[in-house]
Symmetry: C2
Subunit: 458 residues, 2 copies
Amino acid sequence: MPPKIHQTPEERYVEQLAEEVRRLLERQDFSEFQPFTRDLHPYDLSQIYRELAPEERSHFLIRLHTQQLADMAETMTNREQAGIFENLGPDRSIDVMRHMEDSDLARFLHDLPPGKREELLSYMHLSDSSALRTLLGYPPESAGRLMTDRFISLSADDTAREAVEHIRRSASMSDTIGYLYVVDGNRKLAGVVSYHDLFFAEDDQKIETLMKKRVVFATVAMDQEEAARLIQRYELLALPVIDEESRLCGIITVDDILDIVVSEADEDVAKMGGGGKDIDFDTPPLIAVRRRLPWLILLLFIGLVSGSIVDYFEDTLKQIVALAFFMPMIAGMTGNTGTQSLAVVVRGLNGRKLTASTVWKLLRRELLVGLMIGVSCGLLITVIAYFWQGSLLLGGIIGVSLLATLIIGTLTGTCIPLVLSRFKVDPAVASGPLITTLNDILSLFIYFGIASRFLGML
Amino acid sequence: MPPKIHQTPEERYVEQLAEEVRRLLERQDFSEFQPFTRDLHPYDLSQIYRELAPEERSHFLIRLHTQQLADMAETMTNREQAGIFENLGPDRSIDVMRHMEDSDLARFLHDLPPGKREELLSYMHLSDSSALRTLLGYPPESAGRLMTDRFISLSADDTAREAVEHIRRSASMSDTIGYLYVVDGNRKLAGVVSYHDLFFAEDDQKIETLMKKRVVFATVAMDQEEAARLIQRYELLALPVIDEESRLCGIITVDDILDIVVSEADEDVAKMGGGGKDIDFDTPPLIAVRRRLPWLILLLFIGLVSGSIVDYFEDTLKQIVALAFFMPMIAGMTGNTGTQSLAVVVRGLNGRKLTASTVWKLLRRELLVGLMIGVSCGLLITVIAYFWQGSLLLGGIIGVSLLATLIIGTLTGTCIPLVLSRFKVDPAVASGPLITTLNDILSLFIYFGIASRFLGML
């Protein structure tokens, strides 16, 4: 183990909490254990759980309340949740699941093998399991999957006093999100009112006169990224979700969106890195290899195509070995401009639908950029190659090749992800390494093609 | 212009709004204009502004209320804000700025040339400008820069009834975030209470007995990414910010955090793409070139180092031209593993402080991964090279070189960003293209080094 001196303040804090929990559990002092843990945030509880040794964990879990267990489980990964349910046994687990938010539970169930999932659902009350089945029926990564049914809806006809009574009765149902949604007689979404406004309303004021009627909402089938964009743009704390008949069926809260935005960003970076999806600091080596290797082997074969281009131009290369000196630079530069363009497109595409005008504008821009970068770098390398190899013609060949390949590289990095997204192919295919490897092939072909045309003159 | 058929539903919606605004402005029908715009979200107003022609914009702006203008400006980029203030003239602009949130205004002022900034500050009331100067005194990207002073703080000694009275008086001050922070007699942060809890409290219940005492908070100097992490982990809607003396001086709301998380993600992707920082779909070509070119020219020179390695091994290459066939593949593959490792580290480093144990674990993992990937790809390429070139020795040389370079590539991709972050160098330097280009050099050196050792035997 490394010296403790490298601990961050946060790790120290968690260790102190875990130490205290250990002490209380050992002394069997449960009169102190309850108030101590009640004050802790679910995230802190999960950190303590992680800090405890496996044999201490069950003692810890057994002493927590069902709601605490449910809240803690919600902050954990699916694998950790499975570990906890394993520890708790089937009866207690079902009990904890009933206290979890439907969207969190649906995410856990979704990743289970179908047999195991059905078994768990069959243990539940019919009303719980049918709500979950509805949720699991929405497409993955849709707003429907993400929403919670823990919200309070008011009726437009109610008075402020009636609304307060209603809220008081359903207090345990509500997330503390600051808004209350209003529905009409057919459960259709009609407006939104804040606790704050209700606070200052006259007792007999109708909710209808208090509420804002223009509500930003999501539909159950909407992509979660689109829902995230709405929450971000309109600076909302929650987004109501309606079904096909405009009936309010759930809300999405901003904390779920924050998680999504972070994981979408991880996906984008993985895309740029190529195939490294779902690998983090804690992924075991064998799993990391299994996730990276297929991609690298594909790239290896594509890389051999570059080799066969060099092979094809073997005679040219034999006559002027100096051409090989500039090979890595030309291939590398083409890959680099390609990756730069890719970075722009990958983030730009995020949750945005492209119109023809945006695409044309972008293509024109990138073509211009490629041209300007190509001319600058081409001129520079002509001069360098001339002084290095003493031949203006060789310098010119290399400069013109670089100009051509940089334009091609920029366009490849722009077009491939655009075309893929147009045809709804998973844009993860257009990763940085793929663009780089394809640009290798194109650039070598152009370079040797130009060089062999002028071979006689060299 | 492209056919309208490619419009997204959102673009259609904005166009309809803009159409309606145009109609109302043309008819000079301001009795309808007010209620129409009052119902719109600031983001919609900014979308309408963008849709309007330059000559229509001033008519539009002139008809909006100061608070509407302020809210709209907050949803816009600095460049757009400058355009609006230009349009409004100095007096009205100062008025609008006074209605903007301090953190948004500080962001705008921060990007102005110092002379212009001082001029604007000098126009303001002393109390406004000194608050802004304090804000601008915190380091960029700190929690202090991000916080707003529009929040209501309660006193621990107040009763629920007194608290409600206090809230009623300062209603316009509060963001609708759902919580109220509690301070003690020295303005030190003492707890947090939700509107929801206050709602159901007895009139004479002390705030002290209602509040939760364990509050997650940020300090003014804390990095904004760390604040974002706290909000995400603890699923908060707002985070109180305290100064060195533990006094509550502002709050950070989750919508600001969402913006930060998105822009951090953009930075990470730009990092992977290399130097493409701050380039989006709307960046003009010349600016995009200016931001990309310096980086590419640097890479060009580094790429020439690869060339000089090939030059150094010219004799080897002349004797076995077939070595050139595998050059692009070996260099490419080394770059690819490097980029994959980089992607893991870039996201892993996000807002996290590294401990020695994490670093060692990661390095061991990546070394193992490099070894396993190297052995698999090395064996594969040995077989391929043998069948292609008919020489087992050549196959072996290429296989061993690939094994060695893949291990090196993985370690480079892991170590460089870790070392940079350890020495607090802007990790943007460790971009994907830089790692790829460095790996080019290393891999060619290893490849030709191994090949020339075995040259006599070929």
